[in-house]
């Protein structure tokens, strides 16, 4: 569903994403992990069409994002890490606007908006301005906006931030149902337990390069880590601080 070929992004002299190759198959939840500043958000924003790659190609369901951006973007729902929205629109107006961006309107859209608001327990807030929403409510609204036009693919940057435990559980279940019906999810997250429990495949990026990718089993084989958890694998691959080092920092 998603294919990245030699994808590179440079900001001046700094290479944020360095010649990466990745294939995310249809009907899978795929985790995109990496330490802070590794290039996760840059990659996801390139896939969403917000950043233009310096080199390489992005294929979304057979459409080249550079050559056929409209067709490629029609397949996509994007959930950013920072939920900036039009503060002076209400929740339902925002969803109607997003549907309009995909050329959709009418009673089908109205029905879909009501369903989504109900699903995320936002119905009582639907006529209130977004400026009055809490962080978690904004996150729920953005997730709804990514679903309102019935995409084939969801690209999501840190989906769990700001969600309460009920919201987190709901989101996991939505993603699972979404892929069961043939959808695809590519998500970046720092919550490794969530990634381990949810993802059918994982890619780990560090300093702009993909250092490992595959299923949990394949990752363990690649790193010869026996039965290690994803957290242990992640720290091993990305060179995280040992507990002793952390204790020393906190004591000093």
């Amino acid at each position: 569903m998603i294919r990245l070929e030699h994808l590179t992004k440079r900001f001046g002299g700094f290479t944020a994403v360095d010649d990466i190759e990745l294939h995310v198959p249809r009907g899978k939840v795929f985790g995109f992990l990496g330490p802070n500043g590794a290039g996760k958000t840059t990659t996801l924003r390139m896939i969403a069409g917000i950043l233009r790659p310096t080199a390489g190609r992005i294929w979304l369901g057979g459409d080249d994002l550079i050559e056929r951006p409209m067709a490629a973007k029609h397949r996509l729902g994007f959930i950013p890490d920072r939920p900036f929205m039009y503060e002076k629109l209400t929740g339902s107006e925002f969803l109607r606007f997003v549907a309009g961006l995909y050329g959709q309107d009418g009673t089908a859209v109205e029905k879909r908006i009501d369903e989504l608001l109900d699903l995320f327990e936002l119905t009582v807030w639907k006529d209130k301005l977004i400026e009055a929403y809490s962080h978690g409510m904004r996150q729920k609204l953005i997730i709804s906006s990514a679903l309102v036009h019935r995409p084939e693919l969801i690209v999501v940057d840190e989906p769990m931030v700001g969600l309460d435990p009920r919201g987190t559980r709901l989101l996991k279940s939505i993603f699972r149902h979404f892929v069961d019906r043939g959808g695809t999810v590519l998500m970046s997250t720092h919550t490794l337990e969530v990634a381990e429990a949810m993802c059918d495949g994982i890619a780990i990026i560090q300093a702009g390069k993909i250092v490992a990718h595959g299923t949990m089993r394949e990752l363990r084989q690649q790193t010869k880590s026996g039965n290690a958890s994803l957290e242990e694998l992640f720290l091993k691959l990305t060179g995280g601080s040992t507990e002793r080092e952390l204790a020393a920092i906190l004591e000093n």
Binding site: I50, A71, H74, F84, Y86, K88, E93, D105, K128, S145
Partner: protein, 561 residues
């Protein structure tokens, strides 16, 4: 390092970083243009005042009184502007700023927060007045031989004049926030301030101050001098500042005014701090409350759907969204009050022209004024476009992730923004032009020329505002009112003025031909020169419409977030 300096340090460092970034981006040319425009403005203010004061100085007895009166009025208007602007700014710096959570949760002394935020409020709301005061006070210093010591003396007088309104403004805001939620207070204040400013300007114009200058209004010189000697407002700091400055320049030296200024300043600082100590914690807590608002969006939908039905879904939603955002944001729609005032004053000025006092209708002047009025109307329209159309792209900045990740054709966005801004501008342009021409009783020829020209000019001005707005976006700014005052806004205004000048110069040829023919009683001949001139104007305006839109679109396609 003291805590107060530490609290203020991030702002200082941010400012330095911004200067460095600007320099790295090759902002030297930008600084040069800004410096040049600033200097030209300063020189203009200085020049006008220098001439006026030179004239006053030559008048026996009442010369210094007139100069003092002028300074008093200037200081009084400064005080009013400062008070209003401090009230608004204090709301952001004390209650809505993003650094407050960190400051309030840190073990920072309340007095340091008060002083740091007071300094910030004062700086943000007073810099323009302080800059404006430089050429004014320099002119006074030069004309009345103030000498080099006048400069530090003026600072000693001006400093408390800036601090006092800052303390009062902050205190008023503090009290208001304790009564209303902060976000409601902001809405309320912006409407009140703009309405107050509008009414003041309107009243000032409608009383026709030019008539007061007529000497026959006073019975004798003694009456006149008595009026001049009467202090306008003896209990206001502006009067003390005026007395302090005029006392230094023309004598006798007025030490009492200086003492009044500084003691009042100190007293207000202490009172302000005490009030802050008592009310700030409660006010800050109240400011965290959201301004809960239920909105019935269906009214817009009902009003707009019949018109918008003709458009594609995407364009319709873009337009409905923009209209809703505009009318729900008080800082945006309240500017319409000023706009209405501007139009009324504009038409009033035309009506007040002493053209029809004589028996014979001065045909030549009427035609000339109605023609030059085109340029003036164009300038007014450009200022309105700078305020309402220029920020349109910048205001999408934070939501650009949504627009770029969706299959939205940026041409549709550009199209929606262009017509959303240009249609109201066009209605206004036609209103101003037709009404002024009716008031001036111009001929049909001039009516057709002005209406035709203003239509093509408005289409070009709207496109240029949008194009320059995309070329010089201000994505970090949340306040739409600040965007037109950026460098890009300045470039837009300068380019528009150049376009207006070009159009007027070209059209002067056929209008002159028409005038000549009518004056000598001959029939007006539509010749090749006339047609050529109007065709050239049409071509220039068409290019000034198409090129900025095309360049703006290319620029938007290259945006990265």
């Amino acid at each position: 390092m003291s805590t107060l300096a530490n609290v203020m340090r991030p702002k200082w460092l941010t400012m330095l970083a911004r200067v460095r970034q600007e320099r790295a981006r090759g902002g030297r040319g930008k600084m040069l243009v800004l410096g040049f425009v600033g200097l030209a403005f300063w020189l203009a203010v200085f020049g006008v005042l220098y001439r006026v004061l030179s004239y006053f100085r030559g008048v026996e007895e009442i010369g210094p009184l007139l100069a003092g009166k002028l300074l008093g009025l200037t200081m009084l208007s400064f005080l009013a502007i400062l008070l209003l602007s401090n009230i608004i700014t204090a709301l952001s710096s004390y209650f809505l700023a993003k650094d407050l959570d960190l400051l309030v949760s840190s073990p920072v002394d309340w007095l340091h927060i008060y002083l740091a935020k007071l300094g910030e409020t004062m700086l943000h709301s007073s810099w323009m007045v302080a800059l404006m005061a430089v050429p004014i006070l320099t002119a006074y210093g030069v004309i009345y031989d103030g000498g080099w010591l006048f400069a530090p003396y003026a600072i000693v007088v001006l400093a408390p004049t800036l601090i006092i309104p800052a303390t009062i403004g902050s205190a008023i805001t503090l009290i208001l926030v304790n009564v209303f939620p902060a976000r409601r207070t902001r809405d309320l204040l912006s409407v009140i301030t703009i309405a107050a400013a509008g009414i003041l300007v309107l009243l000032f114009r409608i009383i026709r101050p030019e008539q007061l200058a007529r000497p026959e209004g006073f019975r004798n010189l003694l009456d006149f001098i008595t009026v001049l000697r009467t202090p306008t407002s003896p209990l206001l700091p502006s009067e003390w500042a005026t007395n302090g400055i005029m006392g230094y320049l023309v004598g006798p030296f007025d030490g009492l005014s200086l003492i009044m200024l500084w003691t009042t300043c100190a007293a207000f600082l202490v009172l302000g701090a005490a009030l802050h100590y008592r009310l700030y914690p409660a006010g800050f807590t109240k400011a965290q409350e959201g301004a809960d608002r239920f909105v019935r969006g269906w009214i817009w939908r009902v009003l707009l759907t019949p018109v918008a039905r003709l458009l594609s879904v995407t364009k319709r939603e873009l337009i409905i969204k923009d209209i809703k955002l505009f009318f729900r944001d008080t800082t945006q729609w309240s500017q319409l009050i000023l706009l209405a005032v501007l139009v009324v004053i504009y038409l009033f000025n035309i009506k007040a022209l002493p053209l029809f006092s004589g028996e014979r209708v001065p045909f030549f002047f009427v035609t000339l004024i109605s023609f030059l009025n085109l340029g003036l109307a164009g300038f007014v329209l450009a200022s309105i476009a700078a305020r309402f159309i220029f920020p349109a792209i910048s205001l999408e900045g934070r939501q650009m992730w949504l627009l770029r990740s969706s299959p939205l054709d940026l041409r549709a966005l550009m199209w929606a923004k262009y017509w959303m801004g240009t249609i109201p501008l066009l209605i206004l342009a036609l209103l101003i032009t037709v009404l002024t021409n009716v008031l001036l009783k111009t001929t049909m020829f001039m009516m057709v020329v002005s209406v035709g020209t203003i239509i093509v000019l408005t289409l070009a001005i709207g496109a240029m505002a949008l194009g320059f707005g995309a070329l010089y976006p201000q994505f970090e700014t949340e306040n739409a009112a600040q965007i037109p005052t950026s460098f890009g806004g300045l470039v837009f205004m300068m380019t528009t003025i150049a376009l207006l000048a070009l159009v007027i110069v070209i059209e002067a040829i056929p209008v002159y031909g028409y005038l000549q023919a009518t004056f000598s009683g001959q029939p007006v001949e539509i010749n090749a020169v006339m047609i050529g001139a109007f065709a050239l104007v049409l071509l220039i305006c068409a290019l000034a419409t198409a090129i900025p839109l095309w360049v703006g679109l290319r620029r938007m396609e290259a945006f990265e977030f």
